[in-house]
């Protein structure tokens, strides 16, 4: 592969990203950061958890994204009575053409390219954990038979931070499987005005698929090739280590309010999503600003607050901010003229 070819691929990557984003924005008003975050996550091959109050368009966003990507989409509405088999699928008894009876595997909704796990925290932990294997290994095992999921495979889950009664907060192990946790904010005045106009009129422009699964897989491969210098890599490592209260790199608030810091998956998520962002920004190298941009969505759900932190209502975003300040200072260029 020649240099020019890579440059063309990088340009195509940026173009595809913009096209998908444009398609999504035909339906979704505002939420620029969320759209960008979800797309980044998808192109990095990760899963995203969207948290926000009902009615902010989380589900619509995911569905539109699936439409724009020309991918197989399925939606699972998580409820307390949802069973694991409802997600992964089950063996059912069917009669063959010869009249014989046999068990045949009936794939669940997880067998899709994009799976919307709506209100994931409403299902029981048992059901939630059924997603673990699918998310991590891109496969499910039913009745001792392992079924591989079609590639690409993304889980885009939503959860409601309020109405916590009767919900089952995701365990840390499952949270860690999500590359990004995105916080969906309420629309601004202008955005709301546009939403009203768009949803109360005759109709909106139909969303057309602009990329397919193959393209996404190629983009995923390209993103992994993006170069990262040792300085930038060191920044990412310091950032992740800074979330550990017993680390030397930890800031004072982290020491005080954090029980557990990010796992290595956090560092992987930061670097991988930074690479995607770099390509989207027209670069083939990762910059500090990429790491800073993805730091919060990558790490906020991987930092576990202690009792004091919970009691004082400390947000993990503020802790990440403090870590970023420190790491920036530590990695500042020494030479000054």
């Amino acid at each position: 592969m020649e240099r020019q070819e890579i440059e063309q691929q990088a340009a195509a990557f940026r173009e595809s990203f913009q096209r998908v984003k444009s398609e999504v924005q035909k339906v979704i008003v505002g939420q620029e950061e969320i759209i960008q975050g979800v797309l980044t996550c998808v192109l990095a091959g990760g899963h995203a958890l969207l948290e926000g109050v009902p009615g902010l368009g989380k589900t619509l966003l995911v569905r539109t994204l699936a439409q724009a990507n020309d991918l197989k989409f399925s939606r699972i509405q998580f409820t307390p009575d949802l069973m694991p088999a409802d997600i992964s699928g089950t063996n059912i008894l069917v009669e063959t053409a010869g009249g014989a009876k046999e068990f045949r595997f009936q794939p669940g909704p997880v067998f899709a390219n994009i799976v919307l796990a709506d209100e994931i925290n409403r299902a029981t932990p048992k059901t939630q954990s059924a997603m673990l294997e699918a998310m991590q290994e891109h496969a499910v095992t039913v009745a001792g038979v392992r079924h591989r999921l079609e590639q690409p495979f993304f889980v885009l889950a939503t959860q409601n931070p309020i109405e916590m009664e009767g919900t089952y907060p995701l365990p840390e192990a499952q949270l860690d499987r999500f590359m990004f946790k995105l916080l969906v904010q309420s629309p601004t005045f202008e955005e709301l005005s546009a939403i009203v106009d768009r949803t109360t009129g005759i109709g909106t422009d139909p969303v057309t698929p602009v990329i397919d699964g193959k393209t996404i897989t190629a983009m995923h491969q390209l993103a992994r090739q993006v170069e990262i210098s040792s300085d930038v890599r060191e920044f990412a490592i310091r950032l992740v280590l800074g979330t550990h209260p017993d680390s030397e790199a930890a800031t004072e608030p982290v020491r005080k309010y954090v029980r557990f810091g990010s796992s290595p998956r956090g560092a992987q998520a930061v670097v991988l999503t930074s690479k995607v962002r770099a390509l989207v920004q027209g670069r083939v190298n990762v910059a500090y600003e990429d790491l800073i941009a993805v730091a919060k969505p990558s790490l906020r759900h991987r930092i576990l607050l202690n009792f004091e932190g919970e009691a004082e209502g400390i947000s993990t975003d503020s802790l990440i901010d403090s870590i970023l300040v420190r790491v920036r200072e530590e990695t500042k260029v020494k030479l000054s003229v």
Binding site: I6, A10, S229, D231, N285, A287
Partner: protein, 566 residues
């Protein structure tokens, strides 16, 4: 040009620029700290805690510091990675350069690495490093400028009249006034010395003129003026002593010597005339004697005094020689070394021509000897010795043309010696006058505005207004302090002027002298200043000589006592 070469080339350019700025930074840094030290030093010297540093020493220190800073800055190791990181930080390159440099260092040849390097190369080519790394005033540079202003201020403020105290303004006025007087004297002396071709005194006058000009322009303060005047006086005195020792000590004046010479010449003239008369009388008597006796007497006379024909009247050459001798004596009386020289030159010419008889030469030898005797012990002792030598040679040697030539040359040399002797003594005299003028000027400066004419100093006696010496009155008069309430027991470094009034000689004559100092209130001074000075100087010199006073302060102690010398 490949992207890699472009990247390398541009990075080198950036490195050079950064190195230049780092060198400037280090230079400013070292200069800042050195200048701070210099400013502290200057401040300490202004507060009289340390001796005042020489400007050349300060300049040398700063130059050395600047050089050291430049060397440190220029030898600092700045890697391409450092420059790349800095450039990334300063521009919107988003770590493109540092990544590219790292990829190059690692030798990565993957397509994406190449694309990255190409991207970095294309970006860096558009950069103008003068804008990326502009010359900025760092904290040290700003501090340096402030310190430079402070240092200049420390240098200049005390010399700006606006910041002078009333006393100092008065002092400077005195210095300027004295400068005008001394400059006038120096100019006159310089002109006179040039006219008379007196080298040493001309030089001294020029030096004095320079000092006087500096004083007139207010470039030196009173203390410095006094010290410089003292040094110049001493130099002149030493020069004058050197010139004087080159000439013989003057036991009698030239006027006296001229009188003696004239008398000797007249005496010799009379002897010659008497001899001529006696010869004429003898010839008359001989005419009455028999011819044999006449012949024998004539023969005898020829062997003794020359031919009878020559004897009655001296030759023209002898007459000219006599005239030259008279002129020499007259020139001696007039102290005109040029005329003396001319007279001796004429005499030398007559001696060289050889038109004088043996008898005349003998007479001339005696006259030269008389002249030498007359000059002995005068300022022209050297001339005396040379004439004495000529006379003795004339007596001892046969006067053939060669000898006459030698004698004539010796005579000419004696004439020149005459001139140089007088010039030396005049030079010494002029130097003495200049030194005297300087001493008087220094004394007047030391005494302040209202002062006695120098010639009257030391003639006064401590008297009260009623003309009686008594309680509370020094030999110079009674103490009148204009600000008695401000008096302190301890003499400050810059005490106010204290007026000491007194009556000198007849009432109404110069009643006041202003001295620097602060005599304690209520203390009745009974000792003249010059006695106190002598005693204190002696007391201070002993420790200096015994090396009790640190070497660094010896000169100050000496200068101080020189400056207050009455």
């Amino acid at each position: 040009m490949t992207p890699e070469i472009t990247l390398q080339y541009r990075l080198n350019a950036a490195t050079r620029r950064v190195k230049l700025l780092v060198t400037a930074q280090w230079t400013a840094r070292t200069l800042f700290w050195t200048m701070l030290a210099c400013a502290i030093w200057m401040l300490c010297s202004r507060l009289a805690w340390t001796s005042e540093p020489k400007v050349s020493a300060l300049a040398g220190l700063l130059a050395a510091a600047g050089l050291i800073g430049m060397i440190i800055g220029a030898t600092r190791k700045i890697s391409p990675m450092d420059v790349a990181r800095l450039t990334d930080a300063r521009t919107d390159l988003k770590e493109r350069l540092s990544t590219a440099v790292e990829l190059r260092q690692q030798g990565k040849i993957s397509p994406i690495a190449q694309a990255q390097i190409a991207d970095a190369g294309a970006r860096i080519q558009k950069l103008n490093f003068r804008h990326v790394f502009p010359f900025r005033l760092t904290r040290e540079m700003i501090g340096l400028l402030i310190l430079a202003a402070i240092l200049t201020g420390i240098f200049l403020l005390p010399t700006i009249p606006l910041f002078w105290s009333k006393e100092r303004k008065q002092e400077m006025e005195e210095v300027k006034r004295q400068g005008v007087v001394l400059e006038k004297i120096a100019r006159e002396q310089e002109k006179r010395s040039s006219d008379q071709n007196l080298t040493e005194s001309r030089k001294a006058a020029q030096e004095m003129k320079r000092l006087a000009e500096a004083m007139r322009k207010g470039e030196v303060d009173k203390r410095e003026a006094m010290i410089r005047m003292q040094k110049l006086t001493r130099k002149m005195e030493e020069q004058q002593k050197r010139l004087a020792s080159a000439n013989a000590p003057e036991k009698k004046s030239l006027e006296q010597a001229a009188q003696e010479a004239k008398q000797a010449l007249e005496k010799r003239q009379k002897q010659i005339e008497e001899a001529i008369k006696a010869t004429a009388a003898q010839e008359k008597a001989n005419q009455k004697k028999p011819p044999e006796q006449q012949a024998s007497q004539a023969q005898h006379r020829q062997g003794d005094q020359g031919s009878p024909k020559d004897q009655p009247k001296p030759s023209e050459a002898m007459q000219r020689s006599q005239q030259a001798m008279k002129e020499f004596a007259q020139a001696m009386e007039n102290q005109d070394a040029g005329a003396q020289n001319e007279a001796l030159q004429k005499l030398a010419e007559q001696m060289q021509q050889g038109q004088m008889s043996q008898q005349e030469m003998k007479q001339l030898q005696q006259q030269i000897k008389d002249m030498a005797d007359a000059l002995k012990g005068t300022s022209q002792d050297q001339v005396s010795r040379e004439l004495q030598q000529i006379a003795s040679q004339m007596e001892q040697q046969k006067l053939d043309p060669q000898t006459r030539q030698k004698l004539a040359e010796a005579m000419k040399k004696a004439g020149q010696t005459c001139q140089s002797c007088q010039q030396g003594s005049m030079d010494a005299k002029q130097l003495q006058d200049l030194a005297k003028a300087l001493r008087e000027g220094k004394l007047q400066l030391a005494q302040g505005e209202k002062m006695l004419p120098v010639s009257k100093l030391g003639q006064s006696k401590g008297q009260n207004p009623q003309g009686q010496p008594g309680k509370g009155y020094s030999p110079f008069g009674h103490v009148n302090n204009p600000q008695p309430e401000k008096r302190a027991g301890k003499i400050s470094s810059k005490p106010p002027d204290t007026k000491i009034q007194g009556q000198r000689g007849k009432p109404g004559n110069d009643p006041t002298i202003t001295y620097r100092g602060d005599p304690e209130r209520g203390v009745k001074s009974g000792t003249p200043y010059y006695e106190v000075y002598a005693r204190q100087r002696s007391a201070s010199e002993n420790p200096v000589n015994r090396e009790n006073i640190p070497a660094a302060y010896r000169k100050q102690v000496r200068d101080y006592f020189e400056s207050i010398k009455p």
